[in-house]
């Protein structure tokens, strides 16, 4: 039980943003029909359409894993394969949900920074048409990646062009999509539908919400009948208004963007302050709200007495430090000070 420590473990260790909590409270009045037939859900759907265009179809979900696995199952058949990075959540952190739920093979491409390169995709096509091989059907990219790095617009476009030419779908795992859009200074649609993404797992939970995930289809031919897949995937919340209210708050006054900008800025500050410390080596470009670093093993142990965070790669003594919308400059300064002492 490490509840008392300040956490740099994950942005999901942060509490719910006040404005979001307030919106849930405002929705907590009187009866409302279950399963989405309520005014809060209607409004949230409208907001998604404002952002992503009137042709998108949005379904609210309960977990990021649920959005990914149920969504992918809906646009594949079990004899398909799904291509992802070897650093992706899909490959590493969903306890095999993608395989169990879709029946598909995952093909994970090696990557140092969590990004798929379009050059890696061509060889996968050798399997096409050969009955003994799983048939490639979906490319799934994570934006930002699990390593906090960000696909540039042209990188996404190259991958989506490849997908289109080869009759594949492009899925984006956007568990932290707000942080990527904040980083790139673009809109949410720019890095998804406008860049050629077909289906987006949109995460709100890590950006200050309590439980707010969505699956957004950008092609209506893919979305058809997804309501059944959602239900069968155990992702249909009965009191739907409470998810919807969270999205309504996130999309009011650009709260999603403010939260993401702040979290990114705090990670940037942390990275900046660490530069002077010679025994700390940052291992990934700090582009969103994560800092990956190698520090001495005994320093990890010392630090973990006061702070909670994950050891990313034990043999290498690599740790992950994440910031969130609620991280303060003071938190950073104190943490840097603690790191400095620990490595001395």
């Amino acid at each position: 039980m490490k509840g008392q420590l300040k956490s740099f473990a994950s942005d999901n260790n942060a509490p719910v943003h006040e404005a979001i909590f307030h919106a849930m409270m405002n929705a907590n009045k009187g009866d409302a029909i279950g399963y989405g037939d309520d005014i809060y859900t209607l409004e949230a759907e409208r907001k998604f359409k404002e952002i992503f265009g009137n042709d998108c179809r949005v379904f609210f979900m309960l977990t990021g894993t649920g959005a990914n696995a149920a969504g992918l199952s809906h646009i594949t058949r079990p004899y398909h394969s799904i291509v992802c990075s070897d650093k992706s959540h899909l490959e590493n952190d969903e306890c095999g949900a993608p395989e169990k739920v879709t029946g598909c093979k995952l093909i994970s491409l090696p990557s140092d920074d969590g990004k798929i390169r379009v050059e890696q995709l061509g060889p996968l096509l050798h399997s096409v048409g050969f009955q003994h091989h799983s048939q490639p059907k979906v490319i799934s990219i994570t934006q930002p990646t699990e390593l906090g790095t960000v696909y540039q617009m042209d990188e996404i476009r190259k991958i989506s062009a490849f997908a289109r030419e080869n009759n594949l779908y492009l899925h984006m795992d956007g568990a932290r999509i707000a942080n990527a859009a904040a980083r790139l200074n673009t809109g949410l649609a720019d890095i998804s539908i406008h860049a050629g993404v077909d289906m987006l797992s949109f995460g709100g939970t890590k950006n200050g919400a309590m439980i707010a995930e969505a699956l957004v289809f950008f092609r209506s031919d893919l979305a058809g009948e997804f309501e059944y897949t959602r239900k069968q995937s155990m992702q249909l919340m009965s009191k739907m208004r409470y998810i919807s209210a969270q999205f309504n708050a996130l999309f009011s006054s650009d709260l999603w963007l403010k939260n993401a900008l702040h979290a990114n800025r705090m990670a940037g500050l942390l990275a900046e302050r660490l530069q002077g410390i010679s025994s700390v080596r940052i291992t990934q470009a700090v582009e969103t709200n994560a800092v990956f670093a190698v520090i001495p093993k005994n320093a990890i142990e010392k630090l973990q007495r006061k702070y909670f965070f994950y050891i990313w790669n034990a043999p290498r003594n690599e740790v992950r430090w994440m910031t969130a919308y609620n991280t303060t400059e003071k938190d950073i300064e104190e943490f840097v000070e603690a790191i400095r002492k620990a490595v001395e």
Copy 2:
């Protein structure tokens, strides 16, 4: 969009109980480790153990369908069959999640009141040992049933004795277990673990919570490694403290019981008031918080302009009216008046 109507559709149309919402707010302070390693979850687990005994293992889940299907998948192999009532949620209202998630065959036994009779179980054993047939492994009963009726203690005990003698597990779908315990004037453990139940889907959402489901194992040999099944079943909430806080509130000052007693009392009141109306025929014993009734077709249409509720069986003009913790006597009186007018 029927958000403006008073709803007798389901107890999941009610808002979150004030005390529960308050508990969530109190938990919304500072960082907390995700996935259950927090003080609220520790407390909630302790409360479950107080109720069900120290040997139980509890896992918080996101939906009732998730608790049922993921739990059943954990205690079966795909060549097993799961026996349930033809009126059960499992059979009718989970869009095939049990089959998809477990791979098992569901065997649904015919029932007028939603209850399985122990006499129906014997013939199922003819399949045992025959390699062409799914092998019976779990009996799943719903307490109270989807029809609002309640298994008496001795009815459960007979079924659990049969299960034990024949090497089957007994699962209880307790989406509204509080209402059953309130009705029977027993504790929650009396009608589950003490009656021989092996695994319980414990529902809090329909009893005033926002999203609070749990799977409780009463045999430690069944619970082992369920954390992986939960994750793979997309039922692991990252900000777990907010589910836990809801259970903490439900189990404080017997809120669970008060809510259930009230909802039951309101359904009783509704049934009582309807007795004088000759064109309304109540079709099920009103034992918890649901009233099933046959009323003239045109009366249904009139009523649905002002109230939301489900037509249970269209050819028979049978409707379902549910009460909740927030239904008031005034709501009932006004509804009865509306019914009276509609059927005139």
Copy 3:
């Protein structure tokens, strides 16, 4: 071990027909490319097209259960339901393969003679469009049924008309389709594609082959990419020529029809001879190659010392006796004599 007894247990207890064995031997010369790219398979595919039309697509399979389950998985999504008779092989004798392989719910309709009546289908449509319910997608009928009875042409046509009107597919489990065609004095296409069937499991094994099953699609939009489903369903034989050779023999000189006519005639003869025996009550119309009968319990025991056959329904003392292409009139006369003695 009951290998020494004459068997009336099943038509799959018969040896391989001499002409079929001979065809396999003729194919056993030199190398042949695996997985179907050989002259025997080309010929078998051509013969199927001669029978069912040039637009059909045929895939050779290893078991009847495999043809049913893999085929159904290919034309459904897991949130669909598959409607069948409660007496069907699908429901009773495939150890849950349909549920495991498709993820779908099976809806089994009650039947005395194994046939679905079109009147039973209407109520299933109440689930359509309701996200909590599995969506009906396939009606599966067995021709002849597991009880040896036969759908008349107009019965199939009514069901296929219902399917078409309601956007459902019609599957026919034709494990013994030859016996039905022989009975109805029609071609194989008449009772399948011409009667509105969309997908046919075509069985050769029970008609004198060794291992020869096929899945035939009558709509090219359903067949697309089935080669992958077959492989993933573990139904792709590497030395395919040996299945193909069996079909080539079955379709030469109408061997399939001769075998079926003979088996049917032997069952008819058995039923005829039994009429004079008062303690034997035949329980199903004898329309193909099975005789179902109720006989005294002690007679069953006596008979089973000399003959192998299945007790169909133990509480009712109902047995199943099946004939095959190799049953002789002498076999029947001796068996009738044995029955006569056993019931005395």
Copy 4:
């Protein structure tokens, strides 16, 4: 259609060995109970016990993919992972059957020669106990590998020791196990049960049979109830005697060994004859019945006009040539001559 060419494509392009065909013919007499309750199956089971010990349990299967996938599903839960080589049949050539049937994640380890090294296994244990990660449960090795190379006894023993220490199971895909035993000059048990293997997919088809695969469990706690998994996996042959007869022939007069020794010798001869040809570079140690070689692209095209074989790696112009029990020295000499001409 390449049926007329001499094939070096695969040992499954060979016809059925005469003695095996003869044994099937001998079994083709009179009735025999289906599904394995016959004297041929009893004998085959006895022979397996003679080879692998009285405690083994053997189940006859229809395809190698079926033996692998159904077997692995039986000894895992869907949240487990299965470790294999990136060159394995499991990973590449089963169209995703392992994932679909088990629900598990496959973890494929990079390998040049198709063999897993015990040093690669340690890092996989980092996932153990972490609920977000699939839990390693089975190591699957292929003997010989898809590249024709052979695990030495001590290599298997090291891997099985690792498995045992870490509570993992060791599966051996023995689609061509006879060729490995022939190469190592050991018995079949030496390289499987005696080396610590827990479950063996035993292949007969590629060693001269028609359709003869088996799954052999060396631990009775793993085998329990596999009859249901086999049936549900669509791998239960009704006329079982014909598989059993094939195994009976293979195990008579060491036919399995003679066939394997011959096929190995022919590959060795081919490799030897190719040594003098400078533009042919053999890329894998020739240890069983496959020769992998890089030859000029235009030579591949010329050769394929007269011979059928697979291009293993198109960008590298690497081909696979396989020999079988029926390959003759003359076949080899002619083929070498054709290669010599093609590369000139």
